[in-house]
């Protein structure tokens, strides 16, 4: 069965976050709190924010159980891996059960201001935003590390493709 390209993109996204978490396990507690102007926050705080975003998109799609996680509920660094595995299981489930309908409208009543009306959102936006959000904030962490003289891991799809055998170099 053909794998949807968006599923490859989501799998790459999770691999990249996992690779970054693994790298960050080699950093000191002080390094995990590094930040840089113009980025989201600290290294550890940004990793938590990436996964909280992932969880919120998946709860909206109905493939992760609620309640809607709060971004203010920071995931402890040593629990990031467990959250990532739960996100991965939910992502794989999106395409396993039935045909994913990108135009299906989901309703998000958990607005920042409770008096705001619920949002009606087409499902495809959650998956595209999932990938955008991850790359965006991992780039922040890359900038923080680079600006402090720490060389981070290569997170692009070439590295993922090489790791998974999807790319072959020929003479």
């Amino acid at each position: 069965m053909r794998v949807p390209i968006i599923l490859h993109a989501l799998r790459h996204d999770l691999w990249a976050t996992e690779t970054l978490i693994a790298f960050c396990r080699t950093l000191t507690p002080d390094q995990l709190e590094l930040t840089a102007p113009g980025t989201y926050g600290s290294v550890a705080g940004t990793l938590s924010h990436i996964l909280r975003g992932d969880e919120r998109y998946l709860v909206r799609l109905g493939v992760m159980p609620g309640p809607m996680p709060s971004n203010d509920d920071v995931i402890p660094f040593d629990q990031l891996g467990a959250h990532l595995e739960a996100v991965r299981a939910a992502v794989e489930g999106i395409f396993r059960a039935e045909q994913f309908d990108p135009d299906k409208v989901v309703v998000d009543a958990a607005r920042r201001r409770p008096t705001d009306p619920p949002l009606e959102i087409e499902s495809w936006t959650m998956l595209v935003q999932f990938v955008h959000h991850g790359s965006d904030h991992r780039a922040h962490i890359g900038t923080i590390l680079g600006s402090h003289g720490v060389a981070g891991p290569n997170l692009d799809v070439w590295a993922y493709g090489n790791a998974t055998g999807a790319i072959r170099a020929k003479r």
């Binding site: 390209i5 790459h12 949002l119 495809w124 935003q129 955008h132 997170l155 493709g161």
Partner: protein
């Protein structure tokens, strides 16, 4: 039904267009701003995004978007030249999906842009398409960080503002 990957690539092109529009409000010195830990100046990074987008599309399409590849001196290229090539990227994306869904498992054995002395890479079509999106998001984030670090508000490049503009996200009734 519009393929999700096409929607994803359209968001990517839209986001780069938003950045180009923002950059049109900056002066030449601001276009040359840079910070540590990023690819380079705002101008160079934008040129890098667009030039690389073209190369990914050429690989998947199997044909050039135009005669000479866009390989500018990234620190010197004019913003309008970048914008002109972004239009080629937009056309390439639409051409790619003109026949509907793209088979991501199709095996690509070479690219028309490879020089004879360069190594040849074989890969599935999903690889350059997924890299297209990752690469754009990654470098646009660097530009946004550079602008913010210098006190310039970057545009919101998330999917939400595009979805609101398209009607793919809207406020329902209370």
């Amino acid at each position: 039904m519009t393929p999700i990957m096409q929607r994803q690539l359209r968001h990517d092109v839209w986001a780069t267009e938003q950045l180009v529009a923002k950059c049109r409000t900056l002066n030449e010195d601001q276009l040359d701003l840079k910070i540590h830990g990023t690819y380079g100046s705002v101008r160079a990074t934008l040129a890098h995004i667009v030039g690389t987008d073209e190369s990914y599309l050429v690989r998947v399409l199997g044909s050039r978007l135009h005669d000479a590849p866009f390989r500018p001196v990234e620190d010197e290229v004019a913003l309008e030249e970048i914008a002109a090539h972004l239009a080629h990227v937009n056309e390439g994306v639409e051409r790619l999906f003109a026949g509907g869904e793209v088979d991501g498992d199709r095996f690509i054995t070479d690219t028309p842009l490879r020089r004879p002395e360069q190594k040849r890479f074989e890969m599935y079509a999903w690889v350059p398409l997924t890299q297209f999106v990752h690469h754009g998001n990654d470098h646009r984030a660097q530009i946004a960080t550079t602008l913010s670090a210098h006190g310039i508000e970057p545009p919101d490049l998330q999917v939400w503002p595009l979805a609101m503009a398209m009607g793919a996200s809207r406020e329902g009734s209370s």
